[in-house]
Structures are given as structure tokens and as C-alpha cells.
Amino acid sequence: MEADIEKIEHQNALLVSEAIENPSAGLILLYEQYSRSVNRLVYRLLGPDADHDDIVQQVFLQMIQSITRLKSPERLNLWVRSIAINIVRSELRKRSVRRAFLRFAPKDEVTRDMNEEIESTEFMSASADALRRLPAEERIVFLLYYLEEHSLPEIADACGFSTMTAKRRLSKARERFRRQMSKNDALGSLIDRGRAP
């Protein structure tokens, strides 16, 4: 087990040095190694989204741009995760600012095709709506905790804030989400189910 970890760490170190030496080839290697996990994480945090591919692209471009600043190549996996989370966070923040200033901005940038996919059921439509109402920072913490089942210290580490902040944001998000649930029939039934003896 230890040897396996060492092997992976060694492989990561080689991958990082390759990416620094030849960014074009390094980008391909990074994509091959992390494409699935980055796509998965972006999808789980944003849901079906018209900009999914663009955001994933931004994650990889950011990786190759900042790989020289990666101090511990053995933490490559965590670093990649952290970049993906932060890009989704900043995307959500930008969207909320745009929504606030431009009343005619497209709703969460979701195109009609994507809407059809996400709103395939009333439950999914209500969930997407309730998530959209959470502030960006709270939404990320909330989804990492409930959907990705990360612990608070893990969330804090990935997002770059303290565990206390993560805890506070989770608590606020939970409250807001519960309020949304109680307002909506499709989600409210889950609360009723929870109350049942």
C-alpha cells in the first residue's frame, strides 16, 4: 500500500515536471489523468450546465498556467480538486453578480436543451431552483458536504478557508435550503417523510 502511494506520488512528480518542461504535452497528460474526475466534480457542483465544457476547459488551462507554483507535486490530486472547486465558485459568484445587475441575463446561463435535461422531473427542477437560491460560497460548501460527502476540514482545505468558516457556511446553507424545501411541494415531501414515525 505504502509502495503504491509512493509510486503514485513519483508518477505525479514526473507528470508535473513534464508539464513544466513541455506545457502542450503536459496539458494532454493532465487531461488524460484528470478528465473524468474534473468533469465529474464540475457536473456534481453545477448540475447540467450549458457552460460545462467551458468551465472544465478553464480548469485545465488554469492548471497548466499555475503548475510552476505547485510546491508539493505529491499533492497534485488535491491541487487539481481545489482548482476545479475554486473555478466553479468563481463562476457561481460571477453569475450572481450578473443576475443582480442584468435583469435580462439568461437564468443561470442554462440553455433550453440543458433545462430540458435538468428539469426532467419536478424534483430535479425544484432542487435546481433551491440550489440556485443559495449564495455561491454556501452552495459549494453545501454540495461538497452533502453530495460529495466531504468532511468540514476537507472542504476548508479545498476552498482555502478555515474549518469554522466552512461550518458556519454549511449551517447557513442548510437553513436556507430547508426553507426552500418547505416552500416547494416536490421537496417538502422529504421533510414530511423525515417527520414520520
Binding site: 494532454i28 468533469n39 467551458d54 476547459q57
Partner: protein, 402 residues
């Protein structure tokens, strides 16, 4: 009592799934590489400040425009004039020109000029992607590169992806004839009808497509035409170079590879037939093809080219061994394969340009796979032959030397 949010999360997670339904890794990777090659250096602070100031002015202009003409967005565009693209239009806005062209100016400096008698729509408008659909007529684009923003012009079943360039797209509504002319930069044209799904067009290159004459004239757009016959793409280079018969035939794959256009070089080789290219190439060309394939992520083709280069021997053979080691390591984490090829390189070119790097990699790999005695042997060799090399410290550490 169970936590309803946990119940929600379980249900939502199950419904959502793991990946988007339309996830296409190959297309995503191709777009990523295209975006990477088109990237410019980060803007300086002054330029960023200037861009921010321009953005603020554009937003102010937009608010004034929006307040003054709230209904203009959904109305057909004026017959001539300038619209503020980013904010002045919404997704779904239609554009229809009659006797004069209409220009849409975007805040980053990009301009889209709709020629007379053209029509289309804004099909996507976000911070990252702007997609314009041309239904008929001609659209002249002058795209200023903006970090992270992709421009797409859609026409029938063709999609033209742009990073920073000037080009025009035209489409005859009746005949479906489609044409792209690149004035500056590079574009990528995607269509299910193109071999490999896309082509790349360089500076001053043209691409044209029209349905074969035997096909009956379609009643509606190409997308809705059933059982469409195979396309007949025509390409040309209209200005400086003589007209080539195909998209990239004006430049040999070797020229493209040496210019760093690896994907185009590989596409050209595939067009000519990989086997015949390899059979008629020198060892150096095989090595060049191997490198182009490797840099564009086509590792299998890279391996084939390197192995072919080794068959001819000479100075290219050890280099091919070194690159085969890289592929072995990078694709499958095949440590033993990489070790074998690195040993081959060191044996065939003990004082080659890449010998210090090959020995260092070999030393690290042997150590990582638990072959300490062999690693120490290579470390000793490294210190003897490259005492001041960049990995001398690692070698000393491995030999437990001060």
C-alpha cells in the same frame, strides 16, 4: 427522525448521475488543445485596467441604451447600425438585414458584421461563449482574443470555433452552400460530415461545402434534411499561396509539424494514409511524426512512428527509444516498459544530448520500483559522467554520499 437534507442529497445524487449525458471527452480535449494553442500571455496590469475601464463604459452605455429602447432587443435589427453585443442582445435575438449591413460590436473589441440580406440569431451569449447562428447571407467576424471566451458561428450543420482571428462565413439558404474564409489567425470547423469531425483552417485559407448536384434541392435547413448525401468540401487559399486542392495540402505535414501545428500535421498524415507516409519517410521524418503525434495526444500513433524510426537505425533510433520511454510512462504508468526504453537509449547513445536526463529518469524509476541496487549503479554512472548535472544531488542522496 432522519435528516431530510440527507434524504434529498441521496435522491438528487441518484437522479443527477456522475457525468453529463452529452459528455464527449474527445471533442472536449480537442477544444482544450485548440484553446491552449490560441492563448495569449496574461494581460499586463495597465492593459487589464484599460479593459476594465472600457468594460465599465460599455456597461454604462448599455444601461442608457437599455433604458432608452427597452423593446429594441426583440425587434429585428435596424437595417444599418451598431449594436452593443454583450449586453444589448439576449439569447434568441434575431438579426435580419435588408439593404445595408449591420455591425454588432462586443466589449472586448470583437465585431460581427452581418452583410446585406443576411439573417441569423444569437444562439448563446455568456461570459465564456458567444454563439451566432447564420441562417442565410454572410457574416464577417473580426474576433479579438479574450481570455477564456470562445466564439462560435453556427451555420447549418457546421460550427466554426474561433479564438482570435478574422474570418467570414457565408451560407446560401436555398442551395445550402457554405463557405468559410480565414483572413487572420486560425479557425476550427466542425461538422459530423467532415472526416474526423473537424478541420483546422489557417491564415488565408478557405473551406467550401455544397451538396452534390444529384441531391434534390432541400426544402429547409441542412439540419432537418433527411439522409443527406456525403458532403463535397472544397478548399482553397485565395491570396498569397497557390490554391491547394485540400485544406492543408498547401503545406506538407513536415512543415506543419516543424511550425508546431501538431494536430494539423497529424491530420494531414492521416489524410495521406499513415502507413504509406511511414513507409516512405526517412528516420528523421518518422521521429518528427512521432513527436507531432505525441504532442497532440495521439500516443498510439506516436509509438508506431517511433518504432518505425527505430527500424531504420541511425541517430534517430536512440531518440525514438527515449520518447517511447516517455509514452510508456505517461500513458499506462508502465514503469518496466519505460525502464527498458531508457536503458536502450543509454546503451545506444551513452553520451547523447538526452543522456543526463535519461539516466536521471532511469535512476528515479528504478528507485521507485524497488530496484535499489540498479538505481545506485545508475546513480554512480550519473555522478561519474555528469558530476554537475541537475540531478547530481539526487544521485548523491541515493548513494548516501555527502
Amino acid at each position: 427522525m432522519s435528516d431530510p437534507i440527507h434524504d434529498w442529497a441521496r435522491e438528487y445524487s441518484g437522479e443527477l448521475g456522475e457525468l453529463p449525458k452529452a459528455h464527449r471527452p474527445a471533442a472536449q480535449r480537442a477544444r482544450l488543445l485548440f484553446a491552449f494553442r490560441g492563448k495569449k500571455k496574461p494581460r499586463s496590469f495597465t492593459k487589464a485596467y484599460f479593459v476594465l475601464a472600457s468594460g465599465a463604459l460599455a456597461v454604462a452605455g448599455l444601461l442608457l441604451w437599455h433604458a432608452a429602447a427597452p423593446t429594441a432587443r426583440s425587434a429585428p435589427a435596424p437595417s444599418a447600425g451598431v449594436l452593443l453585443g454583450d449586453e444589448g442582445l439576449a439569447v434568441g435575438s434575431s438579426i435580419r438585414t435588408t439593404v445595408a449591413p449591420t455591425t454588432i460590436s462586443f466589449s472586448g473589441g470583437t465585431r460581427a458584421v452581418w452583410d446585406r440580406n443576411s439573417r441569423g440569431t444569437v444562439s448563446k451569449l455568456s461570459a465564456r461563449t458567444v454563439e451566432l447562428t447564420l441562417d442565410a447571407g454572410s457574416l464577417d467576424m473580426d474576433v479579438e482574443h479574450q481570455e477564456g471566451r470562445t466564439w462560435i458561428v453556427r451555420s447549418g450543420k457546421f460550427r466554426v470555433y474561433v479564438i482570435g482571428t478574422a474570418f467570414s462565413v457565408s451560407r446560401e439558404a436555398a442551395s445550402e452552400e457554405f463557405k468559410v474564409k480565414v483572413k487572420r489567425g486560425q479557425v476550427r470547423v466542425e461538422s459530423p460530415d467532415l472526416q474526423g469531425g473537424y478541420i483546422l483552417l489557417g491564415e488565408r485559407e478557405e473551406f467550401g461545402w455544397r451538396p452534390p448536384p444529384s441531391a434534390p434541392p432541400p426544402a429547409s435547413t441542412a439540419l432537418s434534411a433527411p439522409n443527406l448525401p456525403p458532403p463535397s468540401p472544397t478548399t482553397s487559399n485565395s491570396q498569397a499561396r497557390p490554391k491547394p486542392p485540400q485544406v492543408t495540402a498547401s503545406q506538407s505535414w513536415q512543415v506543419l509539424a516543424r511550425a508546431g501545428k501538431y494536430e494539423m500535421a497529424v491530420a494531414e498524415v492521416e489524410k495521406l494514409g499513415t502507413e504509406s507516409v511511414l513507409a516512405s519517410s526517412s528516420a528523421d521524418d518518422r521521429l518528427l511524426l512521432g513527436n507531432a503525434a505525441r504532442y497532440s495526444g495521439r500516443l498510439e500513433l506516436g509509438s508506431r512512428a517511433y518504432l518505425a524510426a527505430r527500424e531504420l537505425g541511425g541517430a534517430a533510433a536512440p531518440l525514438a527509444a527515449y520518447y517511447l520511454a516517455k509514452i510508456a510512462l505517461d500513458t499506462n504508468g508502465d514503469h518496466s516498459g519505460a525502464i527498458r526504453w531508457l536503458k536502450t537509449y543509454v546503451r545506444e547513445a551513452p553520451s547523447g544530448d538526452l543522456a543526463p536526463s535519461a539516466r536521471a529518469r532511469l535512476m528515479n524509476l528504478l528507485q521507485a520500483t524497488g530496484r535499489h541496487a540498479e538505481a545506485q549503479k545508475v546513480a554512480r554512472e550519473y555522478l561519474t559522467l555528469h558530476p554537475t548535472g541537475p540531478n547530481a544531488q539526487t544521485a548523491r542522496k541515493l548513494l548516501e554520499l555527502p
